[in-house]
């Protein structure tokens, strides 16, 4: 029996993939994203992190792009190419872990609120709508200003403030799944909460959660850049946000140092855009109502 289930699931994944590849934007996004991730993973193998150390900076300060420094140098004489390359690691790491944490909280709250009902559910929904309304970045700023500085603080601050939309989505989907007859059948046959949630609700909710994840990553990466830009990041770690902070503090604008300003910002834009494109394409595939009549 299980093999039939797996065959069906494999077929479903296959057809989803075929539909996905039909969306050109999504496919381009996925390819670019893959390339960025591979580059970020390769950084320690190809380059030497010692060059990121301010005291060992080899170049002249504020040097425009040249054959030696392709992207020029920053205010301390470090290579901007190297900084951007290593910065991608922190930005992606924070963006992805914060998203995983946020989606986990959201799924947990959403399923709990929909499955159990009663006053705890009402309370959870009130908290969810409260967090939904609250400007998440303002809360994230407040949270990371009182906790010790570091990338895990940022991860926590982003996750704690951005789970609400996932929770609302998951709750709606859980409610619609649990209204179906096969859930009733499972209950009648003696399935407990764990069985109903684990075997029936979760598999039905997960595709939606997956789409939501790709769109949340985009927000998380912008949030990371913003928090680091405001000086709430790990002072020792190089991220795209902290590079832009340095650019702002040390007058890259008045120095006309476009080579220090463009790479980290473009990095954020490219990564966010690819996640958005992939997310939108997935949404179209998994939500037939959005499919155009082309």
């Amino acid at each position: 029996m299980t093999s039939i289930v797996w065959q069906r699931r494999r077929a479903a994944v296959g057809s989803t993939w075929r539909d996905f590849t039909r969306d050109r934007g999504g496919l381009i996004g996925l390819v670019v994203l893959g390339a960025v991730v591979v580059l970020a993973l390769l950084a320690p193998l190809v380059t030497d992190p010692a060059a990121l150390d301010v005291t060992k900076a080899a170049g002249e300060r504020w040097q425009p792009p040249s054959g030696e420094y392709w992207f020029g140098t920053d205010h301390t004489g470090r290579s901007v190419l190297l900084l951007t390359w290593w910065g991608s690691r922190i930005s992606l790491l924070v963006g992805l872990t914060a998203t995983v944490l946020s989606v986990m909280i959201g799924t947990l709250v959403g399923i709990t609120a929909a499955h159990f009902g009663g006053w705890p559910s009402a309370g959870l929904m009130w908290v969810t709508s409260f967090f939904l309304v609250l400007p998440s970045l303002v809360l994230a700023i407040a949270l990371s200003s009182v906790l010790p500085r570091g990338i895990w603080t940022i991860v926590l601050a982003i996750a704690v403030t951005s789970w609400a939309s996932t929770a609302r989505l998951v709750r709606a989907q859980t409610l619609s799944v649990e209204a179906r007859p096969y859930i009733e059948r499972a209950r009648v046959l003696g399935g407990g909460h764990a069985h109903v949630i684990g075997r029936h609700v979760l598999p039905a909710v997960l595709p939606l959660v997956f789409v939501n994840t790709t769109l949340t990553v985009a927000n998380a990466i912008v949030a990371e850049a913003t928090l680091s830009f405001l000086g709430l990041g790990d002072p020792a770690a190089v991220s795209w946000g902290s590079m832009l902070r340095a650019a702002n503090l040390h007058g890259a604008v008045s120095q006309r140092a476009w080579w220090f300003l463009l790479p980290p910002g473009l990095g954020v834009v490219v990564v966010v855009l690819t996640f958005t494109l992939v997310g939108r394409a997935l949404e179209t595939v998994l939500n037939p109502r959005l499919r155009g009549d082309r």
């Binding site: 609250l134 009182v146 913003t226 832009l244 155009g292």
Partner: protein
């Protein structure tokens, strides 16, 4: 579109609306209370001893810390502190800023107008631009214009506001002032002052618009697309109305509803955008005040800006709910 006349006739309707409004207001009050509690929780409970957080990385002796603690009442029992904090808020007292040595309420009252001016102007322009682009795009779906404007909107959405601000500032060179709100040597009469402020506001405004208009455009576009195949549009066309009349009088008013509330719902995003944009352009508003408070960290000031920013967003959301009531005859009648 006028409401059907039968909406007026039922005597019980007024009570329903009142109850609904009262429910919304109650929810808003609970939300505001939530913000107040959260403010206390964040800035008094999480840091453990707030004086240690505030003096992090500075040379202070025990006596100074004790003085600071007594000044802000951190040495009292936590319940008493909470009572004082809530009581103070009700009187508009939010404590004293460490850095400015002035009351937080005074500082916020001084900085709120520049932010309102900046956020208000850019929201107005961004909404107009977003709606217009969204309507045009949806009406000619998949035309080159639609594709190009959706693409541009997505790129704008992906950009961190502060980065775009720095780029614009660098690209325009000396055309616009690089920061602040007015020059000190401007003549004091009204028109010169207004012109000076407008001159300073161009870049921060452009940045905020570029970053936030995309959401209005995308929502307007998808909302209008849902109306595109509706039967009443076929009827309108069959009556012999011109294409732009069908669009202006029939399709757009219906598609506008979800978008109008969205304008208010997304004010929180504009506020967060304003924090970084004000930081880049040294625009003397609440955002810059928050940034200055972060450097300390000046916890009483941070607490004040947090409560005010989060509280105003909650108020905006209630306004959006009530506005929806007024605008949508279907909700009004139910």
């Amino acid at each position: 579109m006028t409401a059907p006349p039968l909406a007026e006739s039922s005597p019980r309707r007024g009570g329903g609306v009142l109850r609904h409004v009262a429910g919304k207001l109650g929810g808003a009050l609970a939300g505001l209370a939530g913000v107040v509690v959260l403010g206390f929780f964040l800035f008094r409970l999480i840091p453990g001893d707030p004086t240690v957080t505030m003096t992090r990385g500075r040379q202070v002796d025990e006596a100074q810390i004790a003085e600071l603690r007594a000044l802000h009442g951190y040495d009292r029992p936590i319940v008493e502190q909470f009572g004082q904090y809530v009581g103070g808020l009700l009187h508009g007292d939010m404590g004293t800023s460490l850095f400015y040595r002035r009351t937080v309420a005074e500082l916020i009252a001084e900085r709120v107008w520049p932010t309102l001016l900046l956020v208000g102007t850019s929201t107005l322009i961004a909404v107009t631009l977003g709606l217009w682009l969204g309507i045009r795009g949806a009406w000619r779906r998949d035309s080159p214009f639609d594709r190009a404007s959706t693409g541009v909107a997505l790129v704008g959405w992906a950009m961190p506001a502060f980065w775009l601000g720095m780029l614009l500032s660098m690209a325009t060179g000396n055309l616009f002032p690089s920061g602040g709100m007015r020059f000190s040597n401007t003549p004091p009469d009204f028109w010169s002052q207004a012109l000076d402020v407008a001159h300073h506001m161009v870049l921060p405004c452009l940045t905020l618009i570029a970053v936030v208009y995309a959401q209005y455009q995308l929502v307007m576009r998808s909302s209008l697309l849902e109306e595109m195949n509706a039967d009443y549009l076929t009827t309108a066309r069959a009556k012999g109305l011109r294409d732009d009349q069908v669009r202006r009088r029939h399709a757009v008013p219906n598609a506008l509803l979800p978008t109008v509330t969205l304008v208010f719902l997304h004010i929180g995003l504009v506020v967060t955008g304003a924090i970084t944009v004000e930081t880049v352009f040294s625009w003397p508003g609440l955002g810059l005040l928050t940034y200055e408070a972060l450097a300390g960290p000046d916890l009483p000031l941070l607490q004040g800006t947090f409560v005010v920013l989060a509280g105003s967003v909650i108020v905006m959301n209630v306004l959006a709910d009530l506005l929806y009531q007024v605008l949508d005859p279907r909700v009004r009648a139910s």
